[in-house]
């Protein structure tokens, strides 16, 4: 099987001419299917830029990004939206749930934008319920985000990331807004997902969180310093 992510000689330059800032200066990354990878690096290292490009929210200036067998580095906005919907599941630091919607409706959102399958309301609801049950929230379907604890909210977000069955999960500081007990819960869920065959790429600046991953990629000054272990960050 080919790797899920292959990044070759990727650069990202913001601004032009003299004001140009190089955020990524030639990066090569490969992530195999089923891997659990942590990305670490100090502020301004380029890890956020790398994460944005991995999440198809931004395009690299040059280089190739082959995601699940397709070069997505220079796709149009509409094509990127389709890739995000089909290939990626996002977990954010601040959960990003819509406050007026129930947990169930929040999890159904990605299916609303599914361009490939026309999912009926019943099917969409059934999948969302299954997804919420898989993260242990089967009894909280109709709660609003403000009726749930931080850990529960992040579990709703994980259920949402899983519901379109994407081949890659991207987690951006998934425990950054949580207390240590909830952090453990969330990491347990990510472990379970990994054990079930999911591919997870997680950005974090906490060593003990990064330690949950099989492999740590350390980014500094727009380059991969050490693919395997990251001694110090910040």
């Amino acid at each position: 099987m080919e790797p899920i992510i292959q990044i070759r000689e990727m650069t990202k330059i913001y601004g032009e001419d003299e004001a140009a800032v190089s955020a990524l200066a030639g990066v090569d990354v490969t992530v195999e299917r089923g891997e659990f990878v942590a990305i670490m690096g100090p502020s301004g290292s380029g890890k956020s830029t790398l994460m944005n490009i991995l999440g198809c929210l931004d395009r690299p200036t040059s280089g190739a990004y082959i995601l699940d067998g397709r070069d997505v580095s220079q796709l149009s906005k509409n094509e990127l939206a389709e890739v995000r919907n089909q290939k990626l599941g996002f977990i954010f630091q601040s959960f990003n749930l819509l406050p007026r919607l129930s947990a169930l409706a929040n999890v159904m959102l990605p299916m609303l934008y599914n361009p490939v399958e026309d999912i009926s309301d019943e099917e969409s609801e059934a999948r969302a319920i299954a997804s919420l049950e898989s993260v242990g929230l089967g009894t909280r379907l109709h709660h609003r985000p403000n009726q749930l604890s931080g850990g529960q909210q992040q579990r709703v977000a994980i259920a949402r990331a899983l519901v379109n069955r994407p081949p890659l999960i991207l987690a951006d500081e998934p425990t950054g807004n949580l207390d240590s007990k909830s952090s453990v819960e969330i990491m347990d869920i990510l472990h379970k997902l990994h054990a079930g065959g999911a591919t997870i790429v997680m950005v974090t600046h906490e060593h003990d969180i990064a330690a949950h991953a099989q492999r740590t990629i350390c980014v500094r000054d727009g380059k991969i310093m050490n693919d395997g272990h990251c001694a110090e960050t910040r």
Partner: protein
């Protein structure tokens, strides 16, 4: 993304802020309602004018001295009316009319000042579709020999004689004693003329008794009403009258000192005046619709800013720019269509209310409903488009970080 799903997202967006959504639609409601009410008011005014003119009688041709031509008022004489009656083919009757200055009318110990006295020829009731209620109208021979007879308007009869029978009684008009031969049916106010508050005399008697103080021409007439046998004969009758009168007055037919009009001509002239008024009202109403649209745009821009993170999240989950655009555009369109629907209801209700409570007559113009509703929809699309493009243009990375 399926249309009904976008529609649902848009609806949820609006329900987030019910009071604000309602206040936003208020502008459109007022705009649409005022378009309908304004048009109903001006249509009602036009209908009232048309009613008044049609109340003159059916199939009438109205001959009167031309306005603005010196001496024209002096050239139209009772003989012109007789000539028309003799020579024109296709007429059912004619009524020449003249009005001396108002006079005092006395009878039975009661005196009424400033009463309009109308001298007419004998065909007046049939030509003007105005029947005699009791007694009879004077006939042509009475007119010719200036018989001292009078027909009372219903109101005058009541004022002078109360419940007594006025027929055969004597009435003094000015200083002339006249015998009552008939009372007209009650007709009320038509075109600001109180038909019931007038008295009707043979026109030749009027010439003899009441027009002698006039400087020249005691047998001048103010108006000749000619009744056509049928609608189809009207054009031919107009041609004949034009040629007879031009000949009799010895004027160039291209520059006559008289006018020959149908009721339709008069209605058309009146409508030309009310059209300007109607257009002004429509513009004012249209402006309020635009103001309503600007209100929608304002609120949609606020909404896009408030919901920047939501937009970023939707984009991250796979919403294309077009999906975001449609969601916000639909919100604006729902607001304006809801405003349009309520506005139509308020407009119809308001029109009835205006007609029932005010002195103004209103008549709802059916075309104004799709017009106002369509305008509301266009306002929604027009003023919703810019905020929606602002939403669709957002960069998901920036939007997701928005606080």
């Amino acid at each position: 993304m399926k249309p009904q799903k976008i529609l649902r997202s848009a609806w949820e967006g609006l329900m987030l802020n019910k009071v604000r959504s309602f206040l936003t639609t208020l502008g459109v409601i007022i705009g649409v309602a005022s378009v309908i009410i304004m048009l109903a008011v001006s249509a009602g005014t036009e209908a009232a004018i048309a009613n008044q003119i049609n109340a003159l009688g059916a199939n009438l041709i109205i001959v009167s001295p031309a306005r603005g031509i010196p001496g024209a008022a002096r050239t139209m004489l009772i003989d012109d009316a007789y000539a028309i009656a003799d020579q024109v083919v296709g007429i059912a009757g004619f009524s020449a009319e003249q009005t001396p200055p108002p006079l005092t009318v006395k009878a039975n110990g009661t005196s009424l000042d400033s009463i309009a006295v109308i001298g007419t020829t004998a065909d007046f009731p049939t030509v003007r579709d105005y029947a005699v209620a009791s007694g009879r109208y004077f006939d042509a021979s009475e007119d010719e020999r200036k018989a001292k007879v009078i027909v009372l308007g219903a109101g005058i009869a009541a004022d002078l004689f109360g419940t007594d029978d006025p027929l055969g009684q004597t009435v003094t008009v000015g200083s002339t004693k006249l015998t009552v031969v008939g009372v007209m049916e009650a007709k009320g106010m038509v075109a600001d003329v109180d038909y019931d508050g007038r008295v009707y005399l043979p026109i030749n008697l009027v010439f003899q008794k009441f027009m002698t103080t006039m400087p020249v021409g005691g047998d001048r007439v103010r108006t000749i009403y000619v009744k056509a046998e049928s609608q189809e004969k009207i054009p031919s009758i107009i041609t004949q009258i034009n040629s007879i009168l031009a000949d009799r007055h010895d004027v160039d037919p291209a520059k006559p000192d008289f006018t020959v009009q149908t009721q339709q001509d008069i209605i058309a002239t009146q409508e030309a005046t009310t059209a300007a008024f109607r257009d002004l009202l429509a513009w004012v109403a249209g402006v309020s619709l635009v103001v309503g649209g600007i209100g929608i745009m304002n609120i949609m821009l606020v909404s896009v800013t408030e919901r920047t993170r939501e937009i970023g999240l939707r984009q991250a989950l796979g919403a294309r720019p077009a999906d975001v655009l449609m969601q916000f555009l639909l919100e604006a369109i729902i607001l304006s269509l809801a405003g349009g629907l309520v506005g139509v209801a308020v407009g119809i209700g308001g029109s009835y209310l205006f007609g029932a409570l005010g002195s103004m007559q209103t008549q709802i113009v059916p075309e104004s409903i799709p017009l106002a509703f369509g305008a509301a929809a266009i306002v929604g699309i027009f003023f919703g488009y810019y905020p929606a493009t602002q939403a669709a243009k957002l960069d998901p990375i920036v939007a997701l970080r928005h606080e």
